[in-house]
């Protein structure tokens, strides 16, 4: 029942220091609108133009990635989406995983997944070989010229 001990108010203190949660919040707000543009365009190009989903195949991807614009586009989208998603999931884990141990495990899994996906995705985008493989019908037309 006794009153709590309060820390003495130290007036004036330095500005706030531990800003992790703040930056996480700001990041969500910056990455969100960017992602909106990136993803909606991505979806539109892939699903709404031309033959929609049916046009998507190896050749389509290779065709897109022949342009550095799309390479950069997809790369930025990948990284931002993963970081945004990572951060969002981290908040969720903080809310729902009450036991410290569980929380550690989930955070670790989340971190690993995020790193793996970003690295993997980046590798795929930057080391993509449009003329991979042997079946000429599957690769884009320009591979024939190269050959």
């Amino acid at each position: 029942m006794t009153a709590p001990r309060l820390k003495e108010p130290q007036i004036p203190s330095g500005r706030t220091r531990h800003n992790a949660e703040k930056w996480s919040w700001v990041f969500m707000r910056i990455s969100g609108p960017l992602l909106l543009v990136l993803i909606v365009t991505h979806l539109f190009v892939n699903l709404m133009t031309g033959d929609g989903i049916n046009q998507i195949d190896f050749a389509f991807v290779a065709g897109k990635w022949a342009s550095p614009l799309w390479k950069i586009w997809d790369f930025v989208m990948l990284v931002l989406a993963m970081l945004h998603g990572f951060n969002g999931m981290r908040l969720l884990i903080n809310d729902y995983a009450h036991r410290a141990g569980l929380r550690k495990v989930l955070h670790a899994l989340l971190g690993i997944a995020t790193v793996v996906i970003i690295v993997l995705g980046s590798l795929v985008i930057w080391t993509f070989d449009p003329c991979l493989g042997t079946d000429p019908s599957l690769v884009p037309d320009f591979c024939k010229d190269l050959a």
């Binding site: 707000r29 709404m48 989903i53 049916n54 190896f58 996906i117 590798l123």
Partner: protein, 111 residues
């Protein structure tokens, strides 16, 4: 409150989809055959529906995200947040309709 639930659920859904999506796209590094196989299965009606759900989730999450940002930045938006929730749903409906028409047309019409 319910928009908060929606935002959370859609956020998680998109996240898991993104994991899978990157993995499948990574197959382009393995071989064109493997990639086309997997992508091929996306073109079946079942996946067509799932894909639609995904787009729905992204759109909802995205517009609601904009609403949240607006509410944090402007007093007007804050005081009209309920109307903005309606706006999110209307915008969502307006964009989903043509998309569904076209996408499901592709999926089921086999064009």
């Amino acid at each position: 409150m319910w928009m908060w639930v929606v935002h959370r659920v859609t956020g998680v859904a998109i996240f898991f989809f993104l994991l899978i999506h990157v993995l499948d796209t990574a197959l382009v590094r393995v071989s064109p055959e493997a990639y086309n196989d997997v992508i091929g299965s996306y073109k079946t009606p079942i996946y067509g529906l799932i894909e639609s759900g995904l787009v729905a989730a992204i759109l909802l999450h995205a517009f609601n995200g904009l609403r949240i940002i607006a509410v944090d930045r402007s007093t007007w938006a804050l005081r009209h947040q309920k109307q903005l929730v309606w706006a999110v749903w209307i915008l969502f409906a307006v964009l989903m309709a043509p998309f569904l028409w076209r996408h499901l047309g592709h999926v089921f019409g086999g064009a």
